[in-house]
């Protein structure tokens, strides 16, 4: 038997913070690829501390629903899961390349495949593009469009910016959008000045956050000038300084995220059969978009 644990932050104050976690877990459940699928949280229940013992499977794949490698993925989650042998060096990562490491959870004697965060997986680039397609309702969006990937900024974690830049670079290499830029809330180049950084009239703005919340629903829309007051809402697209801003909201709410979770587990050796194809099929039925898998599961 194999189990999937999606490890997310959650919130004591905001009941919506866990919505994307539940939604993606349900998508994976429906593929039937895992005998058990469980959500686990730092701030909600089941807590990281208790989750592994609720599983019957001996093989457990833990995928952190976090954007970047850093404090949570390197310290908090492994510690709380009681992965005694854990050491960040085992990921052998430059900040965006963590894949997986196999360890024992000390309290339960199960094999844990501890995966890198969803945010740095290559498949995440597709999710950002998919987000642009969803918000413009155009499966071919690209020509004449600029794309801004927005992150929090360095703060205490330099890897957070690396993840943003990594995907921006990959999108640039796709040659699909006229321009692609990494912007930040707390450092240069700042999302406040988004229109300064683009020649194109149309700009899709995709925040690389897991859940919609204070930053994506209040801060960023106000900072970009989409609205005076977030409570009044904003238009999509909204006119700002002669540009049309297509603001997408948190990328983590995109249905295709379930696919990244599956790919992470498959990279760590999970047998997921044709689950990735099933998820893409399901989503393309919902959205009408043509979703081709970018990578074979397990490769």
């Amino acid at each position: 038997m194999q189990a999937l644990v999606i490890a997310a932050h959650g919130s004591h104050l905001n009941p919506d913070a866990s919505d994307p976690t539940y939604a993606h877990a349900d998508t994976v459940r429906e593929t039937g690829a895992f005998d058990e699928v469980r959500e686990a949280f730092w701030k909600e229940e089941p807590h990281f501390r208790e989750v592994i013992r609720t599983l019957e499977s001996d093989e457990v794949f833990v995928v952190p629903l976090f954007i970047s490698e850093g404090y949570f993925t390197e310290q908090v989650i492994p510690r709380e899961l009681r992965l005694e042998e854990w050491d960040p060096d085992k990921w052998d990562s430059d900040g965006t390349s963590a894949s997986q490491v196999t360890l024992e959870a000390e309290d339960v004697g199960k094999t844990i495949h501890y995966c890198g965060p969803v945010g740095t997986h290559d498949a995440m680039t597709d999710v950002i593009v998919q987000r642009a397609e969803s918000v413009t309702e155009d499966p071919n969006v690209g020509d004449g469009f600029g794309l801004a990937v927005v992150g929090h900024g360095t703060e205490r974690n330099e890897n957070s910016a690396k993840a943003i830049e990594y995907h921006t670079e990959r999108i640039r290499e796709m040659d699909r959008f006229d321009e692609a830029k990494a912007l930040f809330m707390d450092e240069e180049p700042e999302v406040d000045d988004v229109t300064d950084y683009f020649e194109t009239e149309d700009i899709v703005v995709v925040p690389l956050f897991i859940a919609d919340g204070y930053h994506t629903q209040e801060d960023i829309p106000e900072d970009m000038g989409l609205t005076e007051d977030y409570r009044l809402g904003w238009e999509v697209p909204a006119d700002v300084d002669g540009h049309r801003i297509w603001y997408a909201g948190a990328v983590g709410t995109e249905g295709l995220m379930a696919d990244v979770i599956l790919e992470r587990a498959a990279d760590a050796g999970a047998d997921i059969g044709d689950a990735v194809a099933a998820v893409r099929e399901e989503l393309s039925l919902e959205t009408g978009a043509d979703l081709e898998p970018s990578a074979e599961p397990g490769d």
């Binding site: 089941p46 208790e50 609720t54 019957e56």
Partner: protein
């Protein structure tokens, strides 16, 4: 419909494969002189295969009971199986699996087990159990449908709804709906602590399979089944306050500086039965119990939860402040009123105080009057620090 003879065949196959089957009072053994069959009430020996099949016919409850547990439920040694056995007061001896000891009878959640005929009688009526604020009913599936004989299904509702008619409740059959139901209390407020005794009523899950029941319960009260099972087997691992505090990093790094007595106040504030259905099993540390009682909650709490950890950070910071002496002008009634206000908020009583009940010190108009009279222009309580 799967008929009883098929169960008998499967049972006989199991006997032939293993030489014997012994389960919940039913015992069949293949001996030199034929089969031996035994229940708590009767005994046969020297049966040939046909005789055995005939003898089993009036024992169909034993046969379908064997089928349900050994074929449909399976999972020997798992928490899921133990929990489902507990639901119908079946003997829990096999919760130990291979390596456990036999202390299980002593657990407060465990009643005298029922024999197979007793259980079947109860299951035909529906056998009720309470799990926190949940009422669980195990029952036999009506023979009319496609389910094999002896199949159990489970219903689940709020204990407050145990006597309600189903038509008055919102009925669900997908375990995942439990997530939504348990997110908010009756007043629509977010419940970050799943074991807070504030689960709203008015809903029911019906016709769940055993696996679905456990899943649903786990969405309402995450990890309670696993920890109950560990407690039952005497293998519950407890992380006491000091270990939990020392483990913390980042903004919670300060936790190990929380004064000893503040840990007591915190346990008294958060971990009592009125606030949490978990029974606090953690103490200050392994050798030093807290004075505050852990409560009588049905679920063991094996370490401070994330809510308590987050609150502890706040209290650790607050406790690092120095104390001062203040002087303020209050009438005796106003002084008493301050105590009443704190008490009303701490007990979550403010919503219950009637608009016009001016006898209650925590009445809103009384509080507003006090504020109007005793607060200065900045909105602060008028007081003077006198110790410097």
């Amino acid at each position: 419909m799967t008929t009883a003879p098929n169960h008998v065949e499967a049972l006989l196959e199991a006997v032939d494969d293993g030489g014997a089957v012994a389960f919940d009072g039913l015992r069949i053994e293949r001996a030199e002189d034929g089969y031996a069959l035994e229940t708590p009430d009767e005994e046969w020996t020297g049966l040939d295969a046909d005789d055995l099949a005939d003898a089993l016919e009036p024992l169909s409850d034993y046969v379908t009971n064997w089928r349900y547990w050994q074929r449909a439920v399976g999972g020997e040694g798992t928490a899921r199986r133990a929990f489902l056995r507990w639901c119908e007061r079946a003997p829990l001896a096999d919760v130990d699996g291979d390596d456990g000891d036999a202390e299980t009878g002593a657990h407060p959640s465990v009643d005298e087990p029922l024999s197979v005929p007793e259980r079947y009688a109860a299951l035909r009526e529906g056998l009720d159990r309470e799990w926190g604020q949940l009422c669980l009913t195990a029952r036999l599936v009506d023979d009319a449908d496609d389910d094999p004989a002896g199949e159990r299904v489970y219903d689940l509702w709020h204990v407050d709804d145990a006597d309600s008619d189903l038509t008055q409740l919102e009925v669900y059959d997908d375990p995942r709906d439990a997530r939504e139901i348990s997110t908010y209390d009756e007043d629509g407020r977010y419940r970050p602590l799943k074991t807070a005794p504030t689960l709203p009523s008015g809903w029911a899950f019906t016709g769940l399979s055993g696996g679905e029941l456990v899943e649903t319960v786990e969405f309402f009260y995450p990890a309670t089944v696993a920890n109950w099972h560990r407690e039952l087997r005497g293998t519950l691992d407890v992380d006491h306050w000091s270990e939990t505090a020392e483990r913390q990093t980042g903004i919670y790094d300060v936790l190990d500086e929380m004064p000893r007595e503040a840990v007591e106040w915190m346990a008294e504030a958060c971990c009592v039965d009125s606030q949490c259905l978990r029974r606090r099993e953690w103490e200050f540390d392994e050798d030093e119990a807290l004075d505050v009682d852990g409560g009588d909650g049905p679920f063991p709490c094996r370490e401070p939860c994330s809510l308590v950890v987050a609150a502890a950070r706040k209290w650790t910071i607050l406790e690092s402040e120095d104390e001062h002496t203040y002087e303020l002008e209050l009438t005796t009634s106003e002084y008493n009123q301050l105590a009443e206000l704190i008490d009303a908020v701490a007990e979550g009583r403010t919503d219950e105080i009637r608009e016009a009940d001016v006898n209650d010190g925590a009445n809103r108009f009384r509080a507003r009057y006090l504020r109007a009279k005793r607060f200065d222009e900045e909105g602060d309580l008028e007081a003077r620090r006198v110790d410097d």
